[in-house]
Amino acid sequence: MEKFVRIENVGQTFVTPRGSFVALRDIDLTVARGEFISLIGHSGCGKSTLLNLVAGLARPTCGVLLCAEREITGPGPDRAVVFQNHSLLPWLTCFQNVHLAVQRVFGAQESKARLAERTRAALDLVGLSHAQAKLPGEISGGMKQRVGIARALAIEPKVLLMDEPFGALDALTRAHLQDELLKIVAATRSTVVMVTHDVDEAVLLSDRIVMLTNGPAATIGQVLAVPLPRPRERVALSADPAYLACRAAVVDFLHRRHGHLAQAPSAAPAEAMETADA
């Protein structure tokens, strides 16, 4: 399989007023074209930091990241990002928000009519054609997130990066959008790297789940392949033994082997003893 995104020996250290802080170390990961990868771990484990490195919003302290065999030195239209809080510009309509991205990527080569057509197609893909003239403040949280996804997909990125895209939504809306995302990803054959802390979301959507150990100095603890065939159907899967096995493996990693207090290298010895006993 083609190695589409390569993360080689990457580490990230932040310099803070109280000394340097190692957020990530020794990260090695490859993502194949068309693959859906989830990064899961407890909050503060550096999964968003890793995603920002792939997005090019930050540069690694050591190691190298490549996308389609080219080193990632900054943000680029080959890697679109869906932010957790949607990050739509509140003074632009849904159409204008998507159009801004389209125009930036395709504006030089394509006619105005074609750009508008691309924008409409992207909004259509997420089922929001009817809301294109609305401002973000006038639509629901789930709709905003869908516009964010439309904006990311409209620029036809090589990789779609999602930072807890459904984290701020209620459970029903989240489930609905997960189902939509499954369909969209199947239709567009997108390569996706998604940060999440939701075990069910990771198992339902992913081809592989990358589990990170607790920070500081987090690294990849385990990679779990999800052998479920596609298309996947939420209700049918809920009693599927393979689904339950994957779910159990992730829960086991997160709560038994890397429970919140265990394995913190900076913890005082007494505290470390306590958690070892527990």
Binding site: A55, P75, P77, V81, S87, L100, P136, G137
Partner: protein, 273 residues
């Protein structure tokens, strides 16, 4: 109140609206009545202070012909107000032309901020009237010197608010700009400017408010025309009623400017989240 709870549909809405308006007007009306009463009491115990009635008569006489013109030193109150507004508009406009871009640069580039923010901090607390002699020296005229004082007092709030607004643009929006690879021009027009606009309008409001305060004092010093000059002139003529009228006129004009700008600001405020 009980009659409203089961009122008939026709006419009820109208009556409710009328009652609400009446209730809203009640507080201010009572306040004004109290104010006029206190004024009357002061005027009765201090003979130099004109009564509300005398002032009202003087105001009616003044506003019967606000736009007469008997040469440069004897013009109607309307001309004087317009002269002051013209100076404020000119001084403020120039300050906006310089201050808003300067604030933008200071907010966007740390180097510019490091260079200029101590200077702004040092000069901002200085009364703009302290700059008046420099204006007289530079421009050799009372009118441009007054405009210069307005310029100086208007520029600080605009620089500071614009810079603070630019520095406070949410990181999310800047990340969007970076991920979409927007050009610097697009970052300014599509992200920074709309995001900073409410802050700029706050700066504008503060500036015009201060400018309207300062123009009265500046005109007292420079003379010529203007509501400040007129007020001082009436003091020299010992027409105390006119001084009180001038105070009300200054207040009403200031309130009108403020209200208009608040309306404008509300139009441009985007809905967050």
């Amino acid at each position: 109140m009980p009659s409203l709870s089961f009122s008939l549909p026709r006419g009820a809405a109208w009556r409710e609206a009328a009652e609400a308006a009446l209730r809203a007007a009640l507080g201010p009306a009572a306040g004004f009545a109290l104010f006029v009463l206190a004024w009357q009491a002061v005027a009765m115990s201090v003979p130099d202070i004109p009564t509300p009635g005398a002032t009202w008569e003087a105001a009616r006489a003044l506003f019967a012909d606000p736009f007469y013109d008997n040469g440069p030193n004897d013009q109607g109150i309307g001309w004087n107000v317009l002269a002051s507004l013209r100076r404020v508009a000119l001084g403020f406009g120039l300050a906006a032309l310089v201050g808003i871009p300067a604030g933008f640069v200071m907010g966007r580039y740390a180097a510019a901020r490091a260079m200029f923010s101590p200077i702004v901090s040092l000069l901002r607390p200085v009364s703009p009237l302290a700059w008046l002699p420099l204006g007289l020296l530079l421009f050799r005229g009372a009118d441009p010197a007054a405009i210069w004082a307005i310029f100086i007092c208007s520029i600080w709030p605009m620089v500071i608010n614009t810079a603070a607004g630019v520095a406070r643009v949410p990181q999310d929006y800047l990340n969007v700009a970076r991920v979409l690879n927007l050009s610097e021009w697009q970052v300014v027009t599509k992200v920074l400017l709309p995001s900073v606009l409410p802050h700029i309008l706050t700066g504008v409001r503060l500036s015009i408010g201060t400018a309207w305060l300062v123009i009265v004092a500046a005109e007292m010093l420079t003379g010529g025309t203007g509501i400040g000059f007129w007020l001082w002139d009436e003091w020299n003529n010992l027409k105390v009623e006119h001084i009180i009228v001038a105070i009300f006129v200054i207040g009403i004009v200031g309130l009108a400017i403020e209200t208009a700008l608040v309306r404008l600001a509300r139009r441009f405020a985007y809905i967050e989240e």
